[in-house]
């Protein structure tokens, strides 16, 4: 946003003098001119939402791979455009739905895909925070300011910022796509411009039912993301507050609790675990798993380095676009008070 600040930060980070740019447009243009072995390998976009699209577009156009925060864009049209550009350019485009980077989330996916709960019938996912229980955006808190500002956050706050994580988590773990939804969105803090509380009732392909809760005004909740999936044969539960564990629920009522690093886990989970059982890993490592997989994919394509198992297990631009459609349809459903059902 500010060339001066860019310069200061760049120097602090130890970047070469000529490679601290006044704008992202400059950066894309100038980096592209450098020889292949000198230029940046990938750009990582961690700006407020409204900048995701223009920045990603410029770098895609300049021939770079992209890693972008979620939600991918503020409109579905922009999201579709990025999908198109990515597909045409053949670039790699990852979206940092980092919760899918947790090994026990990956184990949940593997268990469900291999039939551990039978046919999925019911999904409950909740992402509750309390940090916006007051009008924090009026107090100069930067993270709150842009997230509560339609011009920068887009058309949604609770669903855009955390609900989209929850929706992606359901897709990743169950493989199901929602085909119909009824959303209810509300603003519980007076003076706020976007919704801070939402519930979305979902129908999935094949008839499974779901409920998604997202709230930024659940006062006292720190960052509670939890997912329960129930099928014909059993259930499975993952909670971010016990991120290194996974609970399998048998129809008879007994439970099995798996922990990262224990025996009997899938190769996918093992490939994303760094430490022996009983040594907790956290949020940073979940992000690292996304970035590492993207890096391996880029490296393999770039210089023919041998493919590493599961290196393509990262969220793509298509996942990101589906998330934006989810938000946009939820906003429409909530505004009109009716089911939206033309495929999400």
């Amino acid at each position: 946003a500010s060339p001066d600040k860019s310069r200061t930060t760049g120097i602090e980070l130890g970047l070469a003098d000529g490679r601290v740019y006044a704008s992202y447009e400059d950066m894309a243009r100038e980096e592209a001119k450098l020889p292949a072995d000198e230029r940046i390998e990938v750009v990582s976009i961690v700006t407020p939402n409204h900048l995701h699209f223009p920045v990603a577009k410029v770098f895609l156009d300049a021939g770079f791979d992209v890693i972008c925060d979620k939600p991918l864009t503020t409109t579905a049209t922009d999201a579709d455009e990025l999908v198109r550009l990515t597909q045409e350019s053949g670039r790699i485009f990852a979206v940092t739905y980092n919760y899918t980077g947790y090994p026990m989330v990956k184990e949940a996916r593997e268990r469900i895909m291999s039939g551990a709960v039978g046919t999925v019938r019911k999904v409950v996912v909740e992402y509750s925070q309390g940090w916006l229980s007051t009008l924090l955006e009026a107090e100069g808190q930067k993270q709150a300011e842009w997230r509560a500002d339609p011009a920068r956050a887009g058309q949604s706050s609770a669903l855009g910022d955390i609900g989209s994580h929850a929706a992606n988590l359901v897709e990743y773990v169950t493989g199901l796509r929602a085909v119909e939804m009824f959303a209810d969105m509300g603003t519980l803090v007076e003076g706020r411009k976007l919704e801070d509380d939402a519930v979305v009732i979902l129908r999935f392909q094949g008839g499974a039912r779901g409920v998604l809760l997202a709230s930024q005004v659940s006062t006292g909740e720190r960052n509670q993301l939890r997912l329960s999936v129930y099928g014909t044969e059993g259930g499975i539960e993952w909670s971010h507050e016990a991120a290194n564990s996974l609970r399998l629920k048998s129809a008879g009522g007994a439970e099995t609790v798996l922990h990262s690093g224990v025996e009997g886990l899938s190769e996918r989970a093992e490939a994303h675990t760094r430490l022996p059982a009983g040594h907790p890993e956290g949020f940073i490592e979940s992000f690292a798993n996304v970035y590492r997989n993207v890096a391996r994919t880029i490296r393999t394509r770039a210089d023919g380095t041998e493919a590493v198992p599961f290196m393509e297990d990262y969220p793509t631009v298509e996942d990101g676009a589906r998330g934006v459609h989810f938000i946009e349809q939820a906003v429409e459903s909530a505004r009109e008070g009716r089911w939206i059902g033309d495929g999400i």
Copy 2:
């Protein structure tokens, strides 16, 4: 249902020979003829739902106090009739929403009423079971048979059997009344005649928002009832799986965990606790708290025994009737796919 079986059971229970009756009508009529100090003091109705109304009516008409299982009746009309009869007769009529009998549920109520979470803005309540994940009613299981049969259970299974507990729990703990709802009900087990999964989005007086989940097909869940209430200042959480504890969530993120029997609890909670802290009490004691309070109320009215603090803390016929209206409006909302909002 069967006079013969009635007789056998009565004898096993050690009832006097002349007081085992062939029908509830006989029982009401004959007991009423006995002198006041010999006749039954109260009748307790623990039949399938469709019999609650006729049995309760007969005993009210015969001048007896009544304790009745939930849901109070299978139609709102019947429920309203029982309210009218109770009010006219001046009898005591209790409904066994037993979860309100837990001391830590009472503590939750006291804390919220005294402002511990500020103004309530958001309620999430979930009651999930997995026992009807298969078509159990087709296998001769008696509890499943009548609960899944519209002729005996009424118009709802998941909401009627467990959702009504959840709705009552919200009312008891928060004091809020729902004024609008959007319900979605589904049947996930093929061949079942009533819904086994439901979600209800709620609006309360004053603008608070709520979500109520009730499911009998959450495979692997035993009897998971949990309630979260969030206000302007904090949150509060009670879970039946840790029934002797209560979590208070501060806006800053730290929690206080109260346990039954610890210092600093309300008089209401203490009056419903039998054992020192650390000695778990359970489901039976929660029921006992409802019955004991009703018994004390009856005794006080009957013979002028001194009133005991909190003895009127039991669910009434009005609470029961509100529960039936809740079910009936949810069924209507789900059938029509629209908000119902004329006060519940």
Copy 3:
């Protein structure tokens, strides 16, 4: 202790006038004179420890069955005498180590006996309370007064009151008998006459090792009793704070969590469970299981009522005596600072 108080209490309890006695000696003598179908069936001794022996002896001598609180007596000599009297008289003598009444404790026993953890190698049991963190016995608190008084409690407070429960729990669940011990006992509250904190290192038959912790000055602990048993193949953990659950630990690190009422439990556990899975039972029901089994045993012997499976699953006078020897040897070991090892 006071004939007057006895009389008042007896009347309050609704006892027949002629059957409220001035002393336990009177009671034993007079009740024994009544016809068999009128006299008491069993006596339950819930006095301070020093009275267990004389009361039990009088009632055994008068031909009655006995249920007695733990520790059985204040000296091993007295305990051995009660064992002898019981064996000679053929009476039933139960000791209320009530924690063995929990269904999931019984399940733990069944699992270990059937090899779920392989050969037991290691046991850790802890019983921690904080209620005696201050000199409560000096403030007129009756429960503290007698427990801290050597004349009434015997030679130990922490081990006598709660450590003996822990020792019995280990014996019940593992079937192992300790053969050697090193005890360390301390008094952490100034002015207290008995130990309020103890640790006992144990050796069991066959070479298994154990540690028993008992403390009444673990400030903030309510009533934390927990047991971990480790064998060659796995581990098992039960905690009183989650009394309805049992954790089985596999060698590979995954856990299975069983809950009372779920499918796949032993007949022994099922026979001591009243409610479906997910409906918590508590301390009262654990006591009730001990009393019910004793009652069934007495009834069967008395009138030939058919034996009920597991009715003899209650702690006996021999279990009680072993507990007193345990205390006495621990006191000796702690006093002399050496291993005691002549079989316990």
Copy 4:
């Protein structure tokens, strides 16, 4: 151990060709010859235990700062020698007791130091693992091989490898030094040369009592380290399995649960937390906190960079030496079956 392997690994790590050395002696000597701004800043010793001393000595002698794994050495004599060399040389010497790097462990220390539990009276610390439940060292598992080999591990396995962490944790959190101990050590897996299970009864300065459990044969335990501290006013509990939380226990029985990142934590805890509340951090970050503090201390001394608050909060060579004395005295106590009490 192998110059060839050293070379291969060095190249893989991208080290400059001339700086991959055949031995640690070469490395110390050659690096010392480089100009100050080119040579290594610090050496990190992560070898089996028996090499800690010779490697540390060589690098200290050559004028380098040292970071070393625990236990510091295999004999107390060697440990004392390193303390002496460090003090004489003025070098920085850190020992990676990484559990003290967790922010909530630091919060525990701050709370206790500021009187939250009153005067400490009782400490229970347990470190239980199950990974050595079989004779893993005979199966070629490298981590087990050297840990179970007296020539490389030293005189203890369970106490040396994990018990020393537990002992350090107690010292760090309570500030107490043990002055007397009674240890019991056993080998539960046949064929093993060192103890795999230990219990140590402790007396601290001022009369507090403690118990330390360390086991490598608690089959099914992953890495269970937990600490409870009880004082005159309350208790505090930290468990590695919920590393981001801390439980404060009030004398009345209610608990407060703190989480990393919540409001109201000490500056010390905040300074060692990277993420907002609800975003779990793990084992790697705990290690990173130790390394970061050492790095800051080295940097400040080297170039006068401004001191950062809490940068000296890392375990020192003195802490490491005390840990070795602890092990050595425990071995002696266990061998002789008596209290050892000349200050630890």
